[in-house]
């Protein structure tokens, strides 16, 4: 399978020359998906900035301890998972299946840890009465919950899908069913999820630190 794929890269059906990007179609497809998905997140972030500017007393509820410390740790976990992912892709291209699967499992564990820590944070907020449609703070700004849970929730869905995706790739690559290109394409998705968090973390958490 890898050979036919490779033929596709070098000998393009278009007889005018080599393939313009010199990558396989899966990778190009994932890149195009990432660009369109990044625009989804940009639209959400811009609309969040808009309602936040429009509202005079936007709540800034997060304390350095525990909320910011927790979300900083989540950022650390996600960045580390990106490192193990990129090392996994490297060893996949070197043909080391065992090492690749180990790196992928490390990435999956980091992803699960991220989702679990995030979930405990959500549960704490629910316990304080902060939900997508209400919160206990005065003056009452109902949009806070909508933007907060909308942005972090969509990101969490991406992480969850990424964990399932990586698990399938790790299983298939370990069995020799998938090629290194499959691992690389799943890596692109995982790094994108990491990249989105690099915007959500400062915009949603760091700009909402309690000013007192």
């Amino acid at each position: 399978m890898s050979e036919t794929e490779f033929e596709g890269i070098v000998e393009s059906p278009w007889s005018g020359g080599a393939s313009p990007f010199a990558i396989n179609s899966k990778k190009l497809g994932m890149w195009l998906f990432i660009i369109s998905d990044s625009l989804t997140f940009s639209a959400l972030l811009v609309s969040y900035a808009y309602v936040r500017l429009e509202t005079p007393d936007w709540p800034r509820p997060f304390e350095i301890w525990p909320a910011i410390a927790k979300s900083s740790f989540m950022t650390f976990v996600l960045l580390s998972s990106s490192l193990t992912m990129v090392l996994g892709v490297n060893s996949a291209f070197k043909g080391d299946r065992k090492k690749t699967v180990r790196y992928l499992i490390a990435t999956i564990i980091c992803g699960i840890a991220f989702v679990l820590i995030h979930a405990t944070e959500w549960v704490t907020l629910f316990g304080e009465g902060v939900t997508p449609w209400s919160n206990p703070w005065k003056p009452f700004v109902p949009l806070f919950g909508g933007t907060f849970f909308g942005l972090t929730g969509l990101h969490m869905v991406h992480v969850t899908i990424g964990v399932v995706y990586l698990a399938i790739i790790a299983w298939g690559f370990g069995k020799g069913k998938y090629t290194a290109e499959h691992v690389e394409v799943s890596g692109l998705y995982w790094h994108f999820v990491d990249l989105v968090w690099m915007f959500i973390f400062p915009m949603v958490y760091l700009l909402s630190v309690n000013p007192k």
Partner: protein
């Protein structure tokens, strides 16, 4: 020919070494730590948002060029993807800035 080509492909993909990726990872952590420190210092909001967006863009560029291998791809792929995305985000901001500034002015003082 095919085997030779595959070797070439493998070579092309192992441009980044473990050391390079670890350095990028450390830089990303340092930039994140700087962001958290600024939040701890509670800077004035407009200054804060400018610095945070700037640092986030640097982090995004690091992730895209090294972790997502965009630096090791052909220039054509970059030109296909990034300008279109930047253009779309600029279009969102063209709608955003005039209207949000107007809304801030309309606020009761």
């Amino acid at each position: 020919m095919s085997a030779h080509g595959h070797a070439e492909l493998t070579h092309e993909h192992s441009v980044g070494t473990t050391r390079l990726f670890s350095i990028v990872w450390v830089w990303l952590l340092l930039l994140t730590a700087l962001e958290v420190f600024l939040a701890y210092e509670r800077l004035e909001v407009h200054l804060m948002i400018t610095i945070l967006v700037g640092l986030s863009l640097i982090k995004a560029a690091l992730i895209m060029s090294y972790f997502m291998h965009l630096r090791f791809e052909r220039l054509g792929l970059f030109l296909l993807l990034v300008p279109a995305m930047v253009f779309c985000i600029c279009m969102m901001l063209i709608m955003f800035f005039p209207d949000s500034i107007r809304l801030m002015d309309l606020r009761p003082h």
